[in-house]
């Protein structure tokens, strides 16, 4: 089975059923299927072939959903990029993936550099928003433009283009922060994504009666899968631009009869700050959490606010989508556990020699299953570090890099990460990527970026900086540069200046010694 068939089979079964709600727009499965088919034909007409990469850089909106399925229907590979990604990094991803097409909106086009052709592989741009702006910007950039609006309203071509993929072909590249500072593309086949969506909808017991509200960006696999999974079961997605306006989301939660609410700890922290006493959510059936562990007091508060609602504590990695979930009936007994492997997947813990360890022993978590990625795009060495031979000939098992222990009954407990990747607001941030930007500020001698515990963000990003003699760099200079170059969630919350950063014996900056140096300062 291929991923776009989630939509196609629901459109066949429930053509008139409401599938997607976004602001004032309400679309049925039949309407979405038709629009995606038309957009897919426009991609094929623009020369997009089987396996070509199509980068989608859009905020949450109807066109973002259409673009994902249209790319799949055109036998292409979609690459969803966070809409706050700045021009330099977007160009890096376009070039690294050698994307043949870019789908983005008018104001992002304004940020792209001019005609020096910094994105040589990208042959065509699909624009969302004002026609005049898209057109003049594409002229400036020197690329042909197709307007998404025009493509989806073209009459005829309501049937999908001919299918050219098989299920072991790639469906998506999802770029994730790497410890080198450059994002790497996680290669996911149709089979990987169909398997993950099937396992998750199985344990969440999703049906066509479900209505899920999604406040998370579609660039984040947890957000993307809300759409994929609802389309799989024929349910409805209420797509929100973000959780910036919580009361608007709560209103939709009630009006749309939402049954599923996916959270990350930052959203749950914002939710729990609100006075919810005057609201009732009779339709709500389940809440899920992933990206980082839900603090125990959040679980208690959520249980008190939503006593009838099932709460699923989960853990995952982009490299295999989801690893584990805690059955809701276990949450009071094991609030700090992220549960066990999901259906049709095996997880176990190994020591440094790769031998499986028993309960209570800390080791690296390993994942086996059809959901495990095909590797990192054009990075064979990095791939070999995480995909290692599994028990069967030719099989690869995913070595997560995360340290876990299990209890006697096999429930998993997160212990820590092996690398220094920071999780903030549920997003992974490479300290190296932020440090590289700060080193670009004239006058900065040394910088170390670390994560410090924060009640809302999980971890807040902190930059500890030392300056060259005589330099007059301010906090504003550093944050301004970060704002210019980095996605919003990567911008440090705190900047601290120190005369010199603590070093290891070999003279390298020691992040481990930074808190100690602060305490004695």
């Amino acid at each position: 089975m291929q991923l776009e068939q989630f939509l196609e089979s629901s459109a066949c079964k429930y053509p008139d059923k409401l599938a997607l709600v976004f602001e004032q727009q309400r679309l049925t499965y039949g309407e979405i299927e038709r629009s995606c088919n038309r957009l897919a034909h426009a991609l094929v007409d623009a020369g997009i072939e089987r396996g070509d990469r199509v980068v989608i850089c859009l905020p949450n909106c109807v066109e973002a959903v259409l673009a994902v399925f249209a790319a799949l229907k055109a036998s292409a590979v979609f690459v969803f990029v966070n809409h706050s990604t700045k021009a330099d990094k977007l160009a890096y991803i376009l070039n690294n993936s050698r994307a043949a097409a870019l789908v983005t909106w008018d104001s992002k086009l304004k940020e792209l550099p001019g005609t020096d052709d910094s994105i040589p592989y990208t042959r065509v741009i699909f624009g969302v928003g004002t026609a005049e702006v898209c057109s003049s910007e594409c002229q400036r950039i020197g690329k042909p433009l197709t307007l998404v609006d025009a493509a989806v309203s073209a009459q005829g071509l309501d049937r999908p283009p001919q299918k050219k993929c098989i299920d072991i072909d790639l469906a998506a590249l999802i770029y994730t922060s790497g410890s080198t500072g450059r994002p790497k593309g996680v290669m996911l086949s149709h089979l990987n994504m169909v398997s993950a969506a099937t396992s998750i909808t199985t344990y969440l017991e999703n049906t066509a009666d479900d209505v899920v509200v999604n406040v998370l960006p579609l660039s984040f696999d947890y957000g993307l899968y809300q759409v994929l999974m609802m389309f799989k079961v024929g349910g409805r997605v209420v797509l929100e631009p973000s959780f910036a306006y919580p009361f608007q989301v709560l209103k939709h939660l009630i009006e749309e009869g939402v049954t599923g609410l996916p959270l990350v700890p930052t959203v749950s922290a914002l939710l729990l700050q609100l006075d919810l006493s005057k609201y009732r959510f009779p339709s709500l059936r389940y809440i899920t959490n992933t990206a980082a562990a839900l603090p125990t007091h959040h679980i208690k508060d959520l249980r008190r606010l939503f006593p009838e609602v099932k709460i699923y504590s989960m853990y995952g990695l982009t490299e295999c989508k989801r690893v584990s979930y805690l059955p809701p009936e276990q949450i009071d007994a094991r609030p700090t556990s992220v549960g066990r492997g999901m259906p049709n997947e095996e997880v176990y813990i190994v020591d440094d020699e790769g031998h499986r360890v028993g309960p209570g022993v800390v080791g690296e978590l390993v994942i086996r299953g059809a959901n495990v990625m095909k590797g990192y795009w054009e990075l064979p060495e990095e791939t070999a570090r995480v995909l290692k031979p599994g028990p069967l000939p030719g099989e690869n098992a995913l070595h997560s890099g995360d340290l876990f222990r299990s209890d006697e009954e096999g429930y998993l407990y997160f212990v820590g990460r092996r690398d220094d990747i920071i999780k903030t607001r549920g997003e992974k941030v490479s300290p190296r990527e932020v440090e590289d930007v700060i080193y670009g500020v004239d006058g900065v001698a040394e910088v170390a970026v670390i994560g410090i515990p924060d009640p809302v963000l999980g971890n807040a990003i902190k930059a500890v900086v030392s300056l060259r003699p005589g330099a007059t760099v301010t906090q504003r200079d550093i944050l301004g540069r970060c704002r210019e170059k980095l996605e919003d969630f990567m911008v440090p919350k705190l900047v601290e200046f120190q005369a010199a950063l603590p070093k290891t014996e070999s003279g390298k900056i020691s992040k481990r010694l930074i808190p100690a140096a602060e305490a004695s300062a």
Binding site: P59, S242, F247, Q248, V456, L479, R483, D488
Partner: protein, 84 residues
């Protein structure tokens, strides 16, 4: 109106863009432009309350009131008018 517009733009540029030159019109959504995120709205609301001496009710924390320079201007003018 012009003065209010300038004060709002100044606050947004200083606090969310750290003074970076960033091209956005009075009509453009802060969220879609990636200027303000989920945690930023809380900050914006407390500043508006303090600066203009108004109370922003929970139900008023919606994009129609807060998500662009123009929306903010209209909202603050309406609220300060009521206070007077």
């Amino acid at each position: 109106m012009e003065q209010l517009n300038g004060a709002l733009r100044n606050f947004i540029v200083e606090n969310f863009l750290f003074g970076q030159p960033f091209d956005f019109s009075d009509n453009e959504s802060f969220l879609k432009k990636g200027i303000i995120d989920s945690t930023g709205v809380v900050e914006l609301v407390s500043w508006v309350e303090e600066r203009y001496g108004i109370r922003v009710e929970d139900e008023e924390i919606v994009p129609d009131n807060l998500d662009s320079i123009n929306n903010l201007c209209r909202f603050i003018e309406r609220k300060t008018c009521v206070v007077r």
